[in-house]
């Protein structure tokens, strides 16, 4: 039972390593293909279906600067596996080195409570919750760029800021009471 630790290894020069965790493994591939095109830093993308990661690559694996959980709202399983994987992250990661990316949020057939569950999860862990359009190439590119923005900060490639600072600005705030307020504001 190996925890993944944010600071167990030394960083490489001008390199940023991101770990994309997605249960059904297709959006992560698309994202990775775009992300590696980044010129300003050398981006290393690791893809996983779930955590924990196999021990045997432990040595070869560089320090992971950012862990992204991709949740497809269309499937309950996707959410559950993300939740299960969270256990295998050292607490240090939750200081701004984890974020959630949600797809299919605009789909009519998504049950509202699943959406709520994701929001609760993200806000409970003080992680940013990004929404992505995985259908269109533009959507993918945009999602990748947003991840890069976070990644560069998390890898310490942006001066005058830290992952914790950024995550404080972007973390998801629970919106349940917001919903209900919203309704009575409407009325």
């Amino acid at each position: 039972m190996s925890l993944l630790r944010p600071l167990s290894k030394l960083p490489d020069l001008n390199a940023a390593n991101v770990l994309l965790v997605e249960n059904e493994e297709h959006f992560q591939q698309k994202l990775a293909d775009v992300m590696v095109n980044e010129k300003s830093v050398i981006v290393q993308v690791r893809l996983a279906k779930s955590l924990p990661l196999p021990m045997k690559q432990e040595k070869s694996r560089p320090r992971i600067d950012l862990v992204v959980f991709i949740v497809n709202l269309m499937s309950e399983l996707s959410l559950h596996s993300a939740e299960a994987s969270l256990k295998h992250l050292a607490p240090g990661y939750f200081l701004g080195k984890v974020c959630f990316m949600v797809t299919n949020a605009r789909n009519a057939s998504v049950p509202a409570e699943r959406m709520e569950a994701v929001r609760k999860l993200a806000s409970a862990l003080n992680c940013p919750l990004l929404f992505a359009e995985d259908q269109t190439p533009d959507g993918v590119t945009n999602a990748a760029e947003r991840l890069l923005v976070i990644l560069r900060v998390a890898a310490g490639c942006v001066p005058m800021t830290t992952a914790l600072f950024l995550s404080n600005l972007t973390r998801c705030t629970i919106s349940t009471e917001a919903e209900q307020q919203n309704s009575d504001y409407d009325a």
Partner: protein
């Protein structure tokens, strides 16, 4: 008689898609060239039917010729109907030496002995399959050509594929077949599907099965991905093994198309407090049906992507391994091996 002709033709023409009409008719080869030329396939079908009937009248073609047409069409695209598989048991010693001609006559003889009013047509298809079309009559009535039974059998194989067979005619057919093929009995193989070739391949093991072996054959997943050195898949081994397991369970390559897998659970309530329910004669039944355009593909995929837990339960894997998609699960003994 003429009315029968008309209705038969109408039915055939209506079922046939327009673009197939021309080719099928030419295959039929009962109409001479200029007759075929004269047909106009753009007009509505009911008109076409009339024209065809007229032509049949000209060249004196009767019901049996028209049934030929039907047979040709069915042989070319058998996938519009539901095929049931039956298995022949205990081959006789001379079973392996049966060949088409004597099979034909044997079958005809036996069946006509069993029932007087029946019309049989047998045709050897290019792929070694023998196609039999049977129009069943009754003690009193003439053979009903509108509800024919089709039977497909590959000689020297213990399997028979049948479509729309009634329980009434089932024993007749089985007896005739058994005698003609020198087997001793025939039983339901608990396999049915719309795609004939799929049903056949499944039973005759003509789909790629995967076995554990020393030198793992490249399952062609890893090499296509990992194009970019900057992208690293952490859990390749797991996915590889999952893939291997899934393929061992359901077979590799493209899998035969089945539409359904049906599991029927029969169980009795065992509860001493509740006498009535416990002593109830007939058991409780619970039927679970999996549906898909290609059930095996779906199952394999779900096993591959980890949606279904691995190792795969024999319940599922025995669809392809035992070649059946109807399962009866009863209280005693492990599940899917039970016979229906």
């Amino acid at each position: 008689m003429d009315d029968l002709k008309r209705r038969l033709l109408q039915r055939i023409i209506r079922t046939m898609p327009t673009q197939m009409l021309k080719t099928t008719l030419s295959k039929w080869a009962r109409l001479n060239i200029e007759q075929q030329e004269s047909l106009d396939f753009t007009q509505p079908k009911f008109l076409l039917t009339d024209q065809l009937l007229a032509l049949c009248g000209e060249s004196g073609l009767g019901v049996k010729h028209i049934t030929e047409l039907e047979m040709i069409y069915i042989i070319d695209n058998p996938n519009q109907r539901l095929w049931h598989a039956y298995q022949l048991l205990e081959a006789g010693d001379d079973a392996h030496s049966v060949e088409v001609t004597n099979f034909k006559e044997q079958f005809k003889v036996h069946l006509t002995e069993l029932i007087r009013h029946v019309s049989i047509k047998i045709k050897k298809h290019t792929d070694e399959a023998v196609w039999i079309r049977i129009a069943w009559g009754d003690r009193s009535s003439r053979p009903n050509h509108l509800k024919p039974t089709y039977v497909v059998h590959h000689l020297q194989t213990p399997y028979v594929f049948v479509t729309n067979l009634t329980s009434k005619t089932m024993p007749l057919l089985s007896q005739a077949l058994v005698m003609a093929t020198r087997y001793s009995s025939m039983k339901d193989a608990n396999l049915s599907g719309r795609n004939l070739s799929a049903v056949r391949d499944l039973l005759m093991k003509q789909f790629q099965q995967v076995f554990p072996s020393k030198h793992l054959q490249p399952l062609g997943k890893k090499n296509q991905i990992n194009s970019n050195p900057q992208i690293e898949r952490e859990q390749d081994e797991q996915s590889e093994t999952r893939l291997q397991i899934a393929c061992e369970a359901f077979g590799g390559g493209t899998l035969p198309e089945l539409q359904k897998a049906i599991y029927t659970l029969e169980t009795k309530l065992k509860d001493n407090t509740n006498k009535i329910m416990t002593e109830r004669e007939q058991p409780f039944r619970c039927v679970v049906t999996f549906k898909s355009t290609n059930i095996l593909e779906s199952l394999r995929h779900s096993a591959m992507t980890g949606i279904a837990s691995t190792p795969v339960t024999p319940m599922l894997s025995s669809i392809s391994q035992k070649g059946r998609n109807h399962f009866l699960i009863t209280d005693k003994g492990p599940g899917p091996q039970r016979k229906l």
